[in-house]
């Protein structure tokens, strides 16, 4: 069976700006993969390349075995796309927007209307079906976007920051819907986000910085490389404590943030807490499980240093 996404040295320049250096990626069908990275890291460029909306400057990519440059129509038939900005027509009703999307996807007549009706029920847009899209709140507009992207039951969803700017309730709804798509239809989900907690449940995350892949792996493994726990240390004595932790052999990595240090800890938790309790000049010390945010800090800081 073909991979959902397969790229080799996929890169893109805009004049002198190298937006994406070279992306090597393999995404198995039915998996959820998060694309993370700072603004300008190349996430949107990577997604537009995979969506056949940009041509690569180097390298290549295949979607379910179809070349993104030579077999654009075949690739597009397998895709559902969600862009950063909502793509709904404010002058049309919810139902009309979906009918428009169905026709764009190649559905006509009764199958198109059936797909619209099913989608309205599935996404829970029934009470708003006849409402003009411009009257919807940002959250409902985004749900309409999700409805549009999933209406034709694509095999691969490419979602550029699907929950940006939404309240927790709408974010939860959207992830529940996407999860249902994946479980019910084996849909592959390739998404970007700045909400790193949303990427924690992903099967795999790819971290980009300055157009380069700086991490690619299973979230738990990437977190594990930093240590079992992360110590957040603030105060004048933070550096001294970090050195002491290194001496103890517990510090796996030391990250500098705007507020102090984060030290990845492994081994004797008790000894670490004791040492911190005795250390002078510490305003705040906290131990917590390592997160993807720590991975993000560690890898993007290395890449931009």
């Amino acid at each position: 069976m073909s991979l959902a996404i397969e790229t080799g040295g996929l890169g893109r320049d805009y004049g002198d700006v190298r937006a994406l250096e070279g992306l090597d990626l393999e995404v198995a069908p039915g998996t959820v993969v998060g694309l993370l990275g700072p603004n300008g890291a190349g996430k949107t460029t990577a997604m537009l390349l995979l969506a056949t909306l940009l041509s690569p400057s180097r390298g290549g990519a295949r979607v379910f075995g179809h070349d993104v440059e030579r077999e654009r129509a075949a690739v597009r038939r397998r895709l559902g796309l969600l862009f950063q900005e909502t793509s709904v027509d404010g002058l049309l009703t919810v139902e009309e927007n979906l009918l428009f999307a169905a026709r764009l996807a190649g559905l006509a007549g009764r199958p198109a209307r059936a797909a619209v009706s099913d989608t309205i029920q599935r996404i829970g847009l029934g009470s708003r079906a006849q409402q003009a899209a411009r009257e919807l709140s940002g959250g409902w507009r985004r749900l309409l976007d999700i409805a549009r992207a999933t209406l034709h039951r694509p095999d691969l969803l490419i979602l550029d920051e699907p929950t940006v700017g939404l309240d927790p309730e709408h974010r939860d709804t959207i992830w529940s819907l996407l999860d249902a798509e994946r479980r019910g239809h084996g849909t592959t989900v390739f998404f970007s986000t700045h909400y790193l907690t949303e990427a924690e449940p992903a099967d795999r995350v790819v971290l980009l910085a300055r157009g380069r892949v700086v991490a690619n792996g299973i979230p738990a493994e990437l977190r594990g490389e930093l240590g079992e726990e992360m110590a957040e240390i603030e105060g004048d004595g933070a550096e001294r404590l970090a050195s002491a932790l290194r001496g103890l052999g517990s510090a796996r990595v030391v990250l500098r943030t705007g507020r102090g240090l984060r030290v990845g800890i492994s081994g004797e938790r008790h000894a670490v807490v004791e040492l911190a309790g005795q250390a002078p000049g510490i305003d705040r010390f906290a131990l917590r499980p390592t997160s993807l945010e720590d991975v993000y800090f560690a890898r993007t800081r290395q890449a931009t240093a």
Partner: protein, 264 residues
Amino acid sequence: MSRWSAVHGIVARDLTRSTRQTSRLLGGVARPFMWLLLVGTGYNAIATLDSGLPYRAFVFPGIVVMAALFGGTLTAIATVYDREFGMLRLMLASPAGVWAVLAGRAIAATLVGVFQGGIVLAFAPLVLEVTPARWLAGLVALVAVSAMSAVLGLLVAVRIRSVENFAGIINVVLFPLLFLSGALYPTAGMPGALRPLARANPVTAAVDLLRHALGQPAEIETSTAAGVVVGVTVLAFLLAAGLFDPEKRFFPRRPPGSAPVTPP
């Protein structure tokens, strides 16, 4: 099949949008009648034409063309708005591809032009003597003129990155096309420097095509006028499709990779 569905979807959407933009639709219908009433009636008393036609009858085909030109072109230029609000990217990402997108938009814009011009044409008996056959011929000519207007609008849209409002387009593109044609006055009476421009202007051929259809004398032969209108339509569509580089449409101001890297 997917191409036709996409074309159908784009046409249906554009027509629905047009009916909901009431002020623009009413403005498009009212504008030619204002011209017919103010310019047509005003000049009718003072203008003497070689053809012997009353000025109001002479200007009527030009006003029909004006209605179709504005309706068709402005609907097609709405592509620029679609670009700004992400709808164009959505359309181009469909399996149907760029040709279906442009064809759908051109058909919708043509229908809007036919609607706006057709309303004016319906009042022809009030201004000139017209048989049902002439009326029908006028309608056929109007379809051709509207199609030309639509693809000219597409051609303008593919190279415009943003439209603050349509007034600029009307002033810079549509009024010069209209005034430099035989719509409001015979091109033969224009200053020598402007006459070649008027002859090269496809709107002149469009007006003369409608004049022939309505049984009026015209400066350009029927076959030539029809050839110019159809030829310009086909060429402009091919040119628009060629110039329509989707990549440049998505990032009008800066590429996504050019933003500064911000620390998290």
